[in-house]
């Protein structure tokens, strides 16, 4: 046991200032979460309730095992777009009848639960999580289909929705659809493709074409119930496996279905007795300085996240700008890579490569704690082969088959974002702290680079350089890049799985590791050719 010590002084002005800055950012995030929670707004929520219907989150709460935790994914999807924050869909992982399930619920208060481009991205991400981690999928369906004004961005890629359901089924992942209302036209294939279908008397409506469309197509007179009512599907078409009396009953049946899946987790079991960290999670608020140019020691974070603050550091004396080491979180072993001073040099890249190989040898999941400005540039470093070494690290990260979890604490710039397993590298989960920023480089640097390039260009052409215009340009670019590197913006684009309160980090990683353990955890010996 190697318990980390802390150098943090929670009473220092610096810590207090950091905490205050973090709280302000958290308040901002909470405001945006509140928008997702209210969905279509009070009026539509009230109307939905008046119809005797439950809200998406109320359905989820009923479905979950009482008092069990629920990890909502991508709650900010669609932020900064023309669509409602949350994208008319609630997704997350929760425990149903003792089984961790991926739950997807349409929010019918938002334009009838219609699918917009962000809904689609969010639902793809949810299915990806289910598929990668082998989680049963429960869809709580009530959607009016595609958002017609944006159908061009929904229709063609949206076909993947149905493909994903049946591929999950083929992969042995149970799929359950509980139809609370409309699930018509293309939406009809959601129950159509699912392994288990529950419909609700007088509520579910599942057909390819409604009465007007049928009238147009064939001239046949029909009604909703005969075309797609729950009774009809349960007794005549056989599309519904269970006929529920009401929403509660449908959820009850859904829970019974899960309890009969005979579900066995394929991954490792956690240690039975877990010790909490030695230091207060509350202090996680004050570790990251508001100005990311100031480095911070990620070991202070690790000390507040891992079991018993117990961390065995690997190669502590080599490549010290990246800390690597072994720990357990909620009883699951992990290898941790954490940037200590932002820049990655050749030594850090090589150390990371070796560490990732070791984790694959021992089937140990990896946790990446981001605060990187990227790989070092400069003549000396280029000549020493920083590209080769960075490529080694990216090779290792890309081909590693143990599960990865990324937490963006501070900066995550440039190729450093890739080497530390950014979104494109398929970490099983990626969450950002409100303090995080991610872009090709820092906003000031990016603006500076553009300025230098245009100054050079002007000089080459022998033209005078407009200093005032340059200053204005720099300001504009800096502001734009700053805005586009913030977590709200990135989360809105579904580039992460959510912006989290730093104090929840341990809980969320523990949650993810447990979800991950539904699928086998297996490393690889197969990597790309390492350019040595």
């Amino acid at each position: 046991m190697t318990a980390l010590r802390t150098a943090l002084d929670a009473a220092s002005t610096e810590h207090l200032a950091n905490t205050e800055a973090m709280r302000a950012k958290l308040a901002e995030i909470e405001t945006e979460h509140a928008k997702a929670l209210i969905g279509g707004g009070e009026k539509y929520v009230a109307r939905h309730h008046e119809r005797g219907k439950l809200l998406a989150r109320e359905r989820i709460e009923l479905l979950l095992d009482p008092d069990s935790p629920f990890l909502e994914l991508c709650p900010l999807a669609g932020w900064g777009s023309e669509f409602t924050v949350g994208a008319a869909l609630v997704t997350g992982i929760g425990v149903v009848s003792g089984v961790e399930c991926l739950i997807v619920a349409n929010d019918p208060t938002v334009r009838g639960g219609a699918t917009n481009p962000w809904t689609l991205r969010k639902s793809f991400r949810a299915h990806e999580v289910a598929e990668q981690n082998g989680l049963p999928v429960i869809a709580l369906v009530e959607s009016g289909g595609a958002d017609l004004p944006t159908q061009k961005e929904v229709f063609i890629p949206g076909g993947r929705t149905f493909r994903d359901i049946t591929r999950a089924s083929a992969a042995g992942i149970p799929t359950i659809a509980i139809v609370f209302g409309n699930s018509t036209a293309g939406g009809a294939y959601i129950p159509g493709m699912s392994d288990h279908v529950v419909m609700i008397k007088d509520r579910s409506k599942v057909f390819l074409g409604g009465p007007p469309l049928v009238k147009m197509a064939t001239g046949e007179e029909s009604d909703d119930e005969s075309l797609g009512g729950a009774e009809m599907h349960a007794r005549t078409s056989g599309l519904a496996d269970y006929l529920a009396a009401d929403e509660h009953d449908a959820i009850r049946i859904g829970r019974r279905i899960v309890s009969r899946l005979n579900w066995r987790k394929q991954g490792p079991e956690p240690r039975s007795t877990v010790l909490p960290p030695l230091f207060a999670e509350e202090e996680l608020l004050g570790i990251v300085p508001p100005d990311l140019k100031t480095p911070f020691d990620p070991r202070e974070v690790i000390a507040r996240v891992v079991d018993a603050s117990d961390f065995d550091e690997f190669k502590p004396l080599y490549g010290s700008s990246l800390a690597t080491g072994w720990a357990e979180i909620h009883g699951y072993p992990v290898g941790i890579l954490a940037n200590t001073r932002g820049v990655l040099f050749s030594e850090e890249a090589q150390k990371a490569t070796q560490f990732i190989q070791l984790a694959n040898r021992y089937d140990t999941p990896l946790l990446f704690l981001h605060n990187t400005t990227g790989y070092m540039v400069g003549k000396e470093y280029e000549q020493k082969g920083i590209i080769k070494h960075g490529a080694q690290m990216i090779n290792a990260v890309s081909n590693s088959t143990v599960p990865h979890i990324s937490i963006l604490m501070g900066a995550s710039y440039g190729a450093g974002h890739y080497g530390m397993c950014g979104r494109a590298y398929d970490p099983r989960f990626l969450f950002a702290w409100p303090s995080a920023k991610s872009a090709v480089m820092g906003p000031a640097q990016l603006a500076g680079v553009i300025s230098l390039v245009s100054r050079g260009s002007a000089a080459a052409k022998g033209q005078p350089f407009d200093e005032a215009a340059d200053a204005q340009m720099r300001e504009l670019v800096e502001a734009q890049i700053e805005a586009e590197s913030l977590p709200l913006f990135l989360s809105g684009r579904v580039y992460d799985d959510g912006v989290i309160d730093p104090r929840d980090t341990r809980t969320i990683i523990g949650f993810c590791l447990s979800a991950i353990a539904n699928a086998p955890v297996q490393g690889t010996e197969k990597f790309g050719v390492f350019r040595l």
Binding site: L71, D249, G331, G510, F511
Partner: protein, 684 residues
């Protein structure tokens, strides 16, 4: 003391010689255990008998040998003298102890035991016979100079005699007694009492005597050996009664303490009563004492009394041990009657609901724990003791099933203390702190009585419940606010259970959400009240709507500690399937967790009549489905605990279902009938 010997009456003749090594107790529950306890202490072997309903009962388990009595009803089992004697012989018992109730006062049984060559651990059959008929016994007592109440025949009762009490001559334990307050109702009650006595005791003889409303029931314990010595071993007061059955008993009597000159008169009368019938063994002579101190002989119980422990704790005598010694021919010591010391109070814990007309309760007693018990079934010497003492004589333990076939008494709890007020306080606090889960009991009533100023003042008479109001005395200890806060504690304990039992993610915070949208919801029902508890655990602790100022200190499945506006209180929680019982010094509250989901197939139709208790359907008040019924019209009668309970239509309507028939055995909650309300304009 008075030695009473009759030279021409050799009482040892009734007591067969030969070894006395093994005792069969022809009884069940706490009294069987009580006798076994002394037997074990004195080295006797023990034999239990058990009915099929009692096959897992404690008394059957702890004897050396247990003999099955096939069947469940008393008539099939504990009242079958042939089976009991056969059991004694088969198990090698050489003595039979009858306990109380059942066959304890049947001289035929006593005689059959003796005839089978076994010892009868009770008085001679002739003494039982002498007291068996209350009418005859009174005459005999009057002749011996013991004061008795004048007996009245039905036609000689006048307005001045009212109220009067009709009693069954062969009755006991309060059964078959009727109070008559007007001459008009006398003939009807007389006939009814005769019918009841005939069916219950096989003897329809009833008699009538003046009813003393505010009298006190004071009795004297006697011990008589076979050599002519009769001891009066202290008096007991058992005035607090329900339906003529004792609930609280104590020694000494507060009334006698206040009127010490009365004691020797009562003792002398008791000795005389025992002597005149040649009594041998332990017995009790019961008197009714009027407020002016005059008293009259009521009856003599020719057996060990339920309330004998208060005498044991105040005298130090093990009465069961003396029953055995006397049966073996031993004489009472020459040292004479023991003195009594300090004060002992016994309460009878019944499985019954005092607020619902004393309706007997049944079910599984999931947990039964009385705190601070010093001894069980044990006679502790108190002469030099200064610390209070708590004795438990229980027929049940955690997990026992309380059935409908026998007396609903679960246990007796007895406190002894140097002062009466201390004994009452110790007993009340032990009862209040007891964990009694799964079965409704009279516990709260007992605590209310023990804490009542009139009780503490010694102001007890047989009208105690009506004088002070059953609504007050049977009120739950837990106030409405306690019930509400207990619901919160219960919900939090259930949450802790959920977390402890979680197969995945059990180590994560309870109900954790990264995007909290709503609270956890749990509905707990206590009787007719439903409590919807909404709670969430935020970073600053518990957030529960309607519970401002209430903080959570700790929660486990078994205990929840709350900080209620600065007062830290611990709530012990027992969970048994859907039942959640929350115990605290504020009172015990039994909840049922209302399930979140109900299978529509299990839903109970509106207008359903559910069985209020387990029992069997004895009569129907309707012809069948389709009958038009008025609100309040009897639909059927359920028999439980030998009492008939009427089940009536709650509303006017049409009987749409009647899933039971005469003879159906039903559990609590069984649908007995469904009454469909007929809408106006709709034809029936």
């Amino acid at each position: 003391m008075a030695d009473f010997t009759t030279a021409d009456f050799d009482k040892t003749a009734d007591f067969a010689t030969g070894p006395l090594n093994t005792v069969l107790v022809a009884n069940r529950g706490e009294i069987a255990r009580r006798v076994f306890a002394t037997c074990r202490r004195l080295g006797y072997g023990t034999v239990a008998v058990f009915s099929d309903a009692d096959s897992d009962a404690v008394h059957a388990r702890e004897a050396d040998v247990a003999v099955r009595l096939p069947g469940t009803t008393s008539a099939e089992t504990y009242l079958r003298s042939d089976l009991l004697i056969a059991a004694a012989l088969a198990a090698g018992a050489d003595a039979v102890h009858p306990g109380y109730g059942f066959l304890s006062e049947k001289e035929d049984f006593a005689q059959a035991v003796v005839d089978a060559g076994l010892r009868w651990l009770g008085p001679p059959p002739s003494a039982i016979a002498a007291m068996g008929s209350k009418v005859a016994a009174k005459k005999m007592m009057a002749a011996a100079g013991v004061p008795v109440l004048r007996e009245l025949s039905a036609d000689e009762v006048g307005e001045a005699d009212l109220p009067v009490l009709i009693k069954a001559s062969a009755g006991g334990g309060g059964r078959g007694m009727r109070v008559v307050r007007s001459l008009a109702e006398l003939p009807g009650q007389w006939d009814a009492a005769q019918a009841e006595a005939a069916s219950a005791f096989g003897d329809g003889t009833v008699f009538c005597e003046q009813y003393i409303e505010t009298g006190r029931h004071i009795e004297v314990q006697v011990l008589a050996d076979a050599h002519g010595t009769v001891w009066a071993v202290g008096e007991r007061e058992c005035s607090i009664q329900r339906r003529h059955q004792k609930v609280v008993e104590e020694a000494p009597s507060p009334f006698v303490q206040a009127h010490p000159e009365l004691r020797e008169k009562l003792f002398a009368a008791a000795r005389d009563a025992a002597a005149v019938i040649g009594y041998v063994g332990a017995g009790t002579v019961e008197f009714l004492v009027a407020p002016d101190g005059s008293f009259a002989f009521l009856e003599m119980n020719t057996r060990l009394q339920v309330e004998h422990p208060v005498t044991e704790l105040t005298t130090g005598l093990d009465l069961v041990a003396w029953q055995l010694r006397i049966a073996a021919g031993e004489a009472l010591p020459a040292s004479g009657e023991p003195g009594t010391c300090a004060s002992a109070i016994e309460v009878r814990l019944y499985a019954e609901d005092p607020a619902k007309d004393w309706q007997p309760a049944s079910g599984t007693l999931h947990r039964f724990a009385v705190p601070g018990v010093s001894c069980e079934f044990e006679v502790v010497e108190t002469a030099t003791r200064t610390e209070p003492l708590l004795r438990l004589d229980s027929g049940v333990e955690s997990g026992s099933v309380v059935g409908v076939y026998y007396d609903p008494m679960l246990a007796k709890v007895i406190a002894w203390a140097p002062r009466r007020a201390e004994a009452a306080r110790v007993l009340a606090s032990a009862l209040a702190g007891s964990e009694i889960h799964g079965v409704v009991t009279n516990r709260d009533l007992l605590v209310n009585v023990l804490r009542h100023p009139a009780f503490l003042a010694g102001d007890t008479d047989t009208a105690f419940f009506s004088t002070h109001g059953l609504d007050v005395l049977a009120a739950p200890l837990a106030s409405p606010e306690t019930e509400r806060i207990s619901a919160l504690a219960g919900a939090l304990a259930v949450a802790a259970t959920h977390r402890a039992e979680a197969s995945v993610l059990g180590g994560l915070p309870s109900g954790w959400r990264n995007v909290p949208s709503q609270a956890q919801r749990r509905v707990l029902a206590a009787g007719a009240s439903e409590y919807e508890v909404r709670y969430r655990f935020g970073r600053d602790g518990l957030v529960a709507s309607g519970f401002d100022g209430v903080g959570l200190v700790s929660a486990t499945p078994a205990e929840v500690v709350l900080d209620i506006k600065g007062l830290r209180r611990a709530f012990r929680v027992g969970r048994h399937a859907d039942a959640v019982v929350v115990d605290s010094p504020l009172g015990s509250v039994a909840f049922t967790v209302v399930p979140t989901f109900t299978d529509p197939a299990d839903a109970v139709a509106a207008g359903s009549l559910l069985a209020p208790m387990p029992g069997s359907v004895v009569r129907l008040g309707v012809a069948g489905v389709g009958d038009v019924v008025e609100a309040g019209q009897p639909i059927l009668w359920l028999e439980a605990m030998k009492m008939e309970h009427q089940v009536s239509a709650p509303v006017a309507g049409v009987l749409s279902a009647l899933p039971v028939s005469i003879g159906s055995q039903v559990e609590v909650g069984t649908v007995l009938a469904v009454v469909a309300v007929v809408e106006e304009g709709e034809s029936a």
